[in-house]
């Protein structure tokens, strides 16, 4: 006769309950670990959205109050006039120019025509034989090593917009131009101009550049670029010939001046900045990564999409006065299975490129700029 054994049934139920609880715990731990991994990969929650702003400080909905306006440093009109004259010298010239960035040095032969055309022939390694031509409507960058020339056609008025932008910054007293002295460079008397960025609590402003300009011709004889850490680069003329003796012709600034059979690579020319990052993402069909940290004073000032058949790229440009840095984002062309994904551990260069995930896609991000290393590290680790 079969007898009901409650003890046996209880133990069976107990086993089932224990198994179910165990499974639940396992599932919960799996979920929590997955969440932790995701959090670690993203580093942070979705941060603030970046908005395009003009490159000057704002308060009171973009307007400076009376006290702020009263305390703003003033530019010298003569200095401003001379700075703008240096953008387009009045005489043709041919000069030997030397450029220094840190311990690296480059030497060029610089040719300039009064109609805004400039040509640089690089004569020292590592750019021996390279040519850079900038003329109204034309940009040519020839690399001797690869025997190819990047060519872009600039639409009319693009450069004028840049000049107007600088004038706007000066008018708003965000940038101040002052004369700080006089000096003779390569036999030409020069006026030294200092370009400083408005900085609250600092009446001198933050030096962003120094210019040695010959007042008669407007030739820029020496140029120092500065950032918050000090001098970034120096370019100066070591010898110069002006006027007819320089033998400058219009032919020097055309494609004919390039070596024969150089491969021509057309670059998409510069266009107007897009209105927002969202618009760029719609055009490029991928989601960008945006920094949640920006160094003091830097703001997003431009968004561009460079079309490509398969891999369009988005350029985010951040500015503080006349200092800029760029983040280029593009869907990675290479298969990232064996590649290290994530920002590099150290960022001590002007050009850094790495792979990073954005949703389901892997992007190749390229940073180009002159920021100090600790600021670069903060930016690239804050991308989300």
């Amino acid at each position: 006769m079969h007898m009901f054994n409650p003890q046996q049934k209880l133990s069976l139920q107990g086993k089932r309950i224990i198994a179910a609880v165990g499974l639940l715990i396992l599932l919960a731990s799996l979920l929590s670990s997955t969440a932790a991994i995701c959090k670690a990969q993203h580093g942070r929650k979705a941060g603030r959205t970046l908005h395009l702003r003009p490159a000057y400080p704002r308060s009171n909905n973009g307007r400076l109050n009376f006290n702020q306006r009263k305390n703003l440093p003033k530019s010298s009109p003569k200095a401003v006039q001379l700075l703008f004259r240096s953008f387009r010298p009045t005489v043709p010239f041919r000069a030997d120019q030397r450029t220094q960035v840190g311990s690296k040095v480059s030497e060029q032969i610089l040719e300039s025509a009064p109609n805004g055309k400039t040509r640089r022939d690089f004569i020292s390694p590592p750019f021996n034989g390279d040519i850079l031509i900038t003329a109204p409507g034309l940009y040519v960058s020839y690399t001797a090593r690869s025997h190819r020339a990047n060519v872009a056609l600039w639409p009319k008025g693009v450069r004028v917009q840049q000049v107007l932008h600088i004038r706007n910054l000066i008018r708003r007293h965000i940038l101040t131009v002052t004369q700080t002295g006089q000096e003779t460079i390569a036999g030409m008397p020069c006026v030294i101009l200092k370009l400083a960025l408005y900085q609250q609590g600092n009446p001198q402003g933050l030096t962003q550049g120094k210019f040695w300009v010959n007042p008669q011709t407007g030739i820029l004889m020496r140029y120092e670029r500065w950032n918050s850490s000090g001098i970034v680069s120096i370019s100066y003329i070591t010898s110069i010939t002006t006027g007819a003796g320089a033998h400058i012709t219009n032919q020097d600034f055309t494609m004919r001046a390039l070596p024969a059979d150089a491969a021509i690579v057309p670059l998409p020319g510069p266009q107007r900045s897009l209105a927002s990052i969202q618009q760029a993402e719609t055009e490029a069909h991928f989601n960008t990564l945006q920094p949640s940290f920006l160094p003091g004073g830097y703001q997003l000032t431009g968004v561009w999409v460079f079309p490509h058949r398969r891999f369009p790229s988005i350029l985010l440009r951040f500015s503080k006065g006349i200092n800029h840095f760029s983040l280029y984002e593009q869907v990675a062309r290479e298969k990232p299975f064996w590649k290290k994904i994530g920002p590099p551990p150290h960022a001590r260069r002007n050009l850094i490129s790495w792979l990073q995930r954005s949703g389901t896609q892997t992007l190749r991000i390229t940073y180009i700029g002159h920021l100090p290393p600790h600021q670069i590290e903060l930016i690239i680790h804050s991308l989300h």
Partner: protein, 185 residues
């Protein structure tokens, strides 16, 4: 076989080991531990102790010999004579038998020095592994390099529009980074 060992008797390794230390023992340059080892062996081995005594006597006799100075041009004459000698194929007069090599090795491989050496090797390995360059994953592939070049070309073009830019400085800064970036991801 006979020529290798006349009586076909293998020498006692302890005796050979001790004999190798005789000169240093007499000179007093041995460590306390080695002196103890040598003296311990000498008390137990009359053959080695008599050999040591013979060596001591020989050295004493050599010391008592009258001192003879060479002439001033001795070295010059010696070199001149050496120069006149025909060159001979090198003879390995100091060839050790395998046994000797093994004995030397075993004398070196004492526990304490061996432990020290292995520790040093381990530390060196750790240091090398910790400070090794970035892994190969950081090297730019051709596709990545093309993307970076495209970004650089666009950046330089965009910068050239700016009247306050310095294209030569930008190019130099980017190039010096690119040469370092060759190893970056």
């Amino acid at each position: 076989m006979q020529s290798k060992n006349l009586y076909n008797i293998q020498p006692d390794p302890a005796c050979v080991k001790t004999e190798m230390l005789f000169h240093e023992y007499i000179d007093g340059t041995l460590s306390a531990r080695r002196i103890f080892d040598v003296e311990k062996h000498l008390t137990a081995c009359p053959a080695c102790s008599s050999q040591l005594q013979t060596l001591r006597d020989t050295l004493q006799m050599a010391k008592e010999l009258p001192r003879l100075d060479t002439s001033n041009d001795f070295m010059a004459q010696l070199h001149a004579r050496l120069d006149t000698l025909p060159s001979e194929p090198s003879q390995n007069n100091h060839a050790f038998s395998l046994n000797d090599v093994w004995l030397r090795l075993t004398s070196l491989l004492r526990p304490v020095p061996a432990l020290g050496a292995s520790l040093a090797v381990a530390v060196l390995l750790m240091f090398t592994l910790m400070h090794r360059p970035a892994p190969a994953a950081h090297t730019l592939s051709a596709a990545a390099s093309a993307q970076v070049h495209q970004a650089v070309a666009q950046h330089l073009m965009q910068d050239a529009l700016d009247p306050l830019s310095d294209p030569a400085a930008d190019q130099l800064a980017i190039n010096s980074s690119q040469s370092a970036q060759g190893t970056a991801n």
